[in-house]
């Protein structure tokens, strides 16, 4: 009988243990659900923070590009290095930088150390389109410490413009004669060759390609050259599949515009900022230009004849402007920063 009583006690105890175990499992289940719910909210907060970081970067990029293109671009990208590029987007074609976060008003709860804003662009094919990636991590003092999220979006920046209205003629001259009433050389020839692109934008594009390491030796090759040097030009540039733009600036033409050396070939567009002063082109001699030649002055008849018939001739080509023909949506305002539709992504790829 004592054994039966003990069995009853054991049975009761086991039942109690099982009931407690069931209760504990239920509690664990509720706890797991509660944790899941909290983590979802923390993930949502990390996402909101990364969006806020992206918006902050956008506002500051827009602020940077209110300055002239050359200054804006050089100062914004001054800290760009190859180390900041993803493995599949390396210089010299790609330019990458991590925005110093100490210069930005970070959203509350964002931990500055692991968070980052990365800017990325293709300097050769789309320098006017920047991909911005914002990665935000929550601070240790936040309940969701360590939660992180990444968002990205692309923007157009005013570093180039459309080529609408450019002339397809092989030779473009500005026959304006400077007078007391009209002392400034107009932009007629420039706009016939470069459309809405300004000289500062082209100078910025040239500086950008050079600083990022593009040259005649790299793959892809450099395609925009802004030259301030008045010396004779002796370098062959461009190919039929990769034409270049070569601009001899006002500085290069300060006394006389530099000639192209005999038999030097340039495939693409060559332009002289001779400021409507024909005297600066009087002793000018051409190499072989396959594409387009623009001069902010008139040429002597003999020079024109030599260009058309001489051994150092000028021949037209359909893709003379390919180096600066960037993909702009039709009708866009080229003068300001704008988001590219459909590029917002909640991911880092």
């Amino acid at each position: 009988m004592q054994q039966r009583g003990l069995a009853t006690l054991w049975a009761s105890t086991v039942l109690l243990i099982l009931t407690s175990l069931w209760g504990w499992l239920c509690l664990q289940s509720i706890h797991a659900d509660s944790v899941r719910s909290q983590q979802q909210m923390q993930a949502a907060q990390a996402l909101v923070n990364s969006e806020a970081l992206l918006e902050t970067a956008l506002a500051f990029i827009e602020s940077a590009y209110t300055r002239p293109a050359l200054d804006a671009d050089l100062s914004l990208w001054s800290t760009a290095t190859a180390n900041h590029c993803p493995s599949d987007k390396a210089p010299p074609q790609w330019q990458c930088m991590l925005w110093p976060l100490d210069g930005l008003p970070l959203p509350e709860w964002t931990d500055a150390t692991p968070s980052f804003v990365r800017l990325l662009r293709d300097v050769r094919h789309a320098p006017h389109r920047i991909q911005i990636m914002a990665d935000a991590t929550l601070k240790p003092s936040h309940p969701g410490a360590g939660s992180r999220a990444t968002v990205q979006q692309s923007v157009y920046v005013p570093i180039s413009a459309t080529l609408e209205g450019v002339s397809s003629a092989a030779l473009v001259l500005n026959e304006q004669v400077l007078t007391v009433d009209a002392p400034h050389c107009d932009m007629r020839a420039w706009q016939s060759v470069f459309g809405q692109i300004t000289p500062l934008q082209l100078k910025a594009l040239s500086a950008l390609q050079m600083h990022n390491g593009l040259s005649t030796e790299t793959q892809p090759t450099r395609t925009v050259y802004w030259i301030d040097n008045p010396q004779l030009w002796t370098q062959h540039l461009g190919t039929s599949t990769s034409p270049v733009v070569l601009v001899f600036s006002e500085t290069a033409c300060a006394v006389e515009c530099p000639s192209l050396a005999h038999n030097t070939t340039v495939v693409g567009t060559v332009f002289y900022q001779s400021q409507c002063q024909a005297s600066k082109m009087q002793r000018w001699q051409s190499g072989i230009i396959a594409g387009q030649l623009g001069i902010e002055a008139d040429l002597a008849p003999a020079q024109k004849l030599a260009l058309v018939n001489g051994p150092n001739g000028l021949t037209g080509s359909a893709n003379a402007h390919a180096a600066i023909h960037f993909d702009w949506p039709k009708g866009i305002d080229y003068s300001r920063v704008q988001r590219v539709a459909g590029t917002w992504k909640n991911a880092g790829f």
Partner: protein, 150 residues
């Protein structure tokens, strides 16, 4: 206390003899009482935690709802920014009210108007048990336009 049994006892006498002793009954009762009390406390705490978690979910949903309406010119969204009344999203608990408040700040950006970068800070509070019952949310927006092809 236990009844002595002999081989000549009636069967009902065996049943009586198989019952609990007082000591056994006391131990089992104490164990049962302890176990049930613990289970009850666990259940109550689990219920409170689950309710708090549910309330946090609701509050963050209300905050996100408002954040997503920021700058949208639809009647519903505009109404949300005009009214600041307690919300009762649970039909099963008409006493559980959530209060949503918000402020908009301008974050200065050099050389740009004040509207260039704005921050919406949202706070949702509710009357919970002992736990802190507030959810904070933020949203930033740059005025950089989106290019959409015409």
């Amino acid at each position: 206390m236990r009844a002595l049994s002999t081989p000549h006892d009636k069967p009902w006498r065996h049943a009586r003899a198989a019952g609990f002793t007082v000591l056994e009954a006391l131990v089992v009762s104490a164990l049962m009482a302890f176990g049930l009390t613990s289970a009850m406390r666990l259940s109550l705490e689990a219920l409170a935690a689950a309710q708090h978690s549910r309330n946090v979910d609701i509050a963050s949903g209300l905050a996100q709802d408002l954040a997503e309406c920021w700058g949208l010119h639809t009647p519903r969204c505009q109404m949300m920014f005009l009214q600041n009344v307690p919300l009762f999203p649970l039909s099963t608990d008409p006493n559980l009210g959530f209060v949503r408040s918000w402020t908009v700040h301008h974050i200065p950006v050099k050389g740009r108007p004040a509207e260039q970068l704005q921050e919406l800070q949202i706070s949702v509070t509710w009357s919970d048990s002992a736990q802190g019952a507030q959810v904070a949310w933020l949203q930033r927006r740059a005025s950089t336009p989106l290019w959409v092809e015409r």
